[in-house]
């Protein structure tokens, strides 16, 4: 059963130095508040996993919490580059970072295999690309037809952290809108935290809503506005201006560092 806890207590309990950590949310429901708390608690040597690193991992990599990044699209959606990720990969600032990259289909299948507790996933893809030489993908023949396919290894993060609109008193969670790979990430991980916009007496099931039962989650923490500048459909709106602002601010190491100190590292947890 999921335990309700404060964000700072939940992060302190779940995330340890050196862990592989997946903070998921595909453009929508990105768990910014939880990621900020991980940074404030000074975690180090993390393997950060996310299909689309987005501004959140730009921040985390920029302050140096990660030794490795596993991803499939490291851009600022619709705006351009993630300048802190680029600086780490191109110049090793503030520290060198190892990368492991896949396609979206590869990452999605890796999470699904992890959720199923299978060792790998089978798919069509990667063929003819240079990704094959640079990432963990292997050819595999269909045992029934002989068709050439590829296998990608399952993802099994130590910790998954996702954000949702609601949880009930028992810690059952519901999210709606773009569901990304959040359910897969929680089920693939060893430990999990879900931050929510609000805690309600009873979940009202929504069309297209994804329910994650309390008993597969370790902690639920209330974090209103916890996905901003991403958004929680029906509760908050995506702050597109912030994504544009970040493109300018994050180009400069010093401006980035000052902004992080003033707005993230030097302030208290929101919940």
């Amino acid at each position: 059963m999921a335990e309700h806890a404060s964000l700072s207590d939940a992060v302190a309990e779940l995330v340890r130095d050196g862990d592989s950590v997946a903070l998921e949310g595909f453009t929508h429901l990105i768990p910014f508040a939880a990621g900020h708390e991980v940074m404030r608690q000074g975690r180090r040597e993390l393997e950060l996993i996310r299909m689309t690193p987005d501004i959140l991992y730009d921040q985390m990599i920029g302050v140096g919490v990660a030794r490795k990044l596993v991803f499939s699209y490291a851009g600022n959606p619709g705006v351009g580059s993630l300048h802190r990720v680029r600086d780490a990969v191109e110049h090793g600032w503030p520290r060198p970072i190892e990368i492991e990259e896949h396609s979206h289909a590869g990452m999605a299948n890796r999470y699904a295999a992890g959720a199923a507790r299978l060792p790998f996933a089978v798919m069509r893809g990667y063929t003819g690309t240079d990704l094959v030489a640079h990432t963990r993908v292997r050819p595999i023949a269909c045992p029934f037809t002989g068709e050439q396919l590829v296998a990608v290894p399952a993802l099994a993060p130590d910790v998954a952290i996702v954000h949702a609109q609601e949880a009930d008193r028992d810690g059952n969670v519901q999210l709606w809108g773009i569901p990304g790979v959040q359910k897969e990430a929680v089920l693939a991980a060893d430990r999990s935290l879900v931050t929510v916009e609000r805690v309600v007496e009873r979940l009202e099931l929504r069309p297209g809503g994804v329910v994650i039962p309390s008993w597969v989650i370790d902690y639920v923490a209330e974090a209103p506005g916890g996905s901003s500048p991403s958004y929680s459909l029906g509760v908050t709106e995506r702050d597109n201006d912030f994504y544009r602002f970040w493109d300018k601010l994050s180009r400069d190491r010093e401006a980035f560092t000052e902004w992080m100190e003033a707005n993230v590292l030097g302030v208290g947890a929101s919940a």
Binding site: S103, H104, Y231
Partner: protein, 236 residues
Amino acid sequence: MSATTPEHATSAEVQTVVAARRLKDARSVFIGVGRPSTAAILARMVHNPKLVLVYESGTIGAKPYHVPLSIGDGELAETADAIVSVPEMFNYWIGPGRIQVAFLGAAQIDRHANLNSTVIGDYDHPKTRLPGAGGAPEIATGCKEVVVIAPHSIRTFVKRLDFVTTTGNRTTHVITDLGVLEPRDGELTLTQVHPGVTAEQVAEATGWELAMADELRVTDPPTDEELSALRELAAR
């Protein structure tokens, strides 16, 4: 077509209008953000109101009124016929070929329409680290027909890619701000130039010796309807 004022259309507008025309008879199109998204929304406005827009965020049949900044903007989710998870999007919809046309962009393209969106320079010591593959490799092998939308310059149209992110086997058209290229015997060939553009200009903006079709078509200039719809959309 109605009276036209091509001199008033920018090259970017012509490119978007030509991309939208490709979707006149399409049932469904897979799109990323930027110009492809603008073109697909324009196609729904002026050519094909039933066109199904699919974004990799999982929104199927989105009907955005505004051009979205990201592929996961709230408006896409609120107007979609269905919203699916990322594994479902790739395994049930894109992989089996259920989406007819895909619009892709890239930082580099070669004469076989292979694309690079991963890195400029050496992989381990990159000059410029680009965002990476995203959905492109499997979109380009899953969708029936791939249309590449790219700015025409020798930086983009290169002899040799620094990295093959996506293969060009299914590419049917490359629509640039100068003209249209189509594969002929496996090699991209200039088949169409936009109004006021010469074949020499296109050749100069291409990093390899560009093959030319025997009969080069000239793009029909944007109609008043196309241009006013596009400008109205951009102003929303």
